[in-house]
Symmetry: C2
Subunit: 209 residues, 2 copies
């Protein structure tokens, strides 16, 4: 990991918050995991737990964006299309889930889920991160010659499936839902191809008539 106290705190917080959620994660947990004492935390994060959670969410979102970018780059270099990139992205997440529990994913939604009443600060942060993810999708999709919508919708669907299956896998203590998420996202590529064929078919028919 990183060696600065600040970084140690963010990394530890990101992991714990993702695993247990905001309310269940105690400051002491984070301090113990990070090997840091209370004074340091409140020096770097005057706002306490809230500040730290926001920093952790930002860090996690960064990792997620990197994964998306890497998956797209790989698909590109292997001659695949945008849907191949989505599959690659999903498989990466599954692999890391299978290996280390749930580490390195499901950043924003899990991290910023404070119990109880609407927390406008956290919601605003979350919206910011998801907007960035959206922009990244549009950007990467564009490199495959896709429109903004054709870039964003597949990623959104993949994200929903992944978040759902991640949630489930965590509750059940079983990676099966994550595995089926991979299958579902592989299916999406087929779906997309079939839809294209069907549209070709239609325009063909229309040309004939």
């Amino acid at each position: 990991m990183e060696h600065s106290t600040y970084q140690k705190l963010v990394v530890a917080a990101a992991n714990l918050l993702r695993q247990k959620g905001y309310a269940a994660t105690g400051i002491s947990d984070i301090l113990k995991t990070a090997g840091v004492t209370r004074g340091s935390l409140y020096h770097h994060f005057p706002g306490g737990k809230r500040d730290l959670a926001i920093a952790a969410a930002r860090y996690s979102a960064e990792l997620l964006l990197d994964m998306i970018e890497a998956a797209c780059r790989k698909a590109h270099s292997e001659g695949g299309d945008y849907h191949d990139a989505m599959i690659e992205f999903c498989k990466k997440i599954y692999a890391s889930f299978e290996k280390n529990g749930n580490w390195r994913f499901m950043t924003v939604s899990a991290t910023l889920q404070e119990g109880g009443e609407r927390n406008e600060i956290f919601s605003k942060e979350a919206r910011k991160h998801y907007a960035r993810i959206r922009m990244k999708a549009i950007d990467e999709g564009g490199k495959f010659g896709l429109s903004a919508e054709a870039s964003y919708l597949p990623l959104r669907k993949a994200m929903l499936i992944l978040e759902g299956s991640w949630l489930l896998s965590r509750v059940l203590g079983d990676t099966m839902p994550m595995r089926s998420a991979v299958k579902f996202i592989e299916e999406e590529k087929l779906f997309h191809e079939l839809r294209q064929q069907a549209q070709l078919q239609i325009s063909h028919d229309e040309t004939l008539s």
Copy 2:
């Protein structure tokens, strides 16, 4: 609501747990919401919070099964197919989400998510409920003449999308993800039809050759 103290506790707990999660929901919250005092709670649920959460999860799972059943019945009576039932199911959940925040859904995964270390009791409960949902899907799909797998997979996919979008909608404080979940699940019907056509196409070609 129900009038027995036991029922009042279960209903209040189910709502609060779903909204805020296990760790963030205090016993006092539940008592206040239910209009019940501490002694009563520990009379009906000697195991305290844990017992109550398990009962709440069971209750929520029951509601979910009812919703699935109702959606299938409606699709049947209107001459629709199994995918129409999934769409109906999803729309119902979206409608109730739109109306009362997040009430009456996302039972098991949210309710039984205790922070921290693997909680084998909760996981076992969750597995039990999801197994029941699976059986219900197979049962209902059978009435539409579908195989077990063809019954279960669409529901699983719908559930994953719904859980993901529910999670997101809650964090963002915006029903948009739920709305897109409805669209995605409507898409599934089209996907299924296209796939059937393609398979017919293939078997046709094979017959010709």
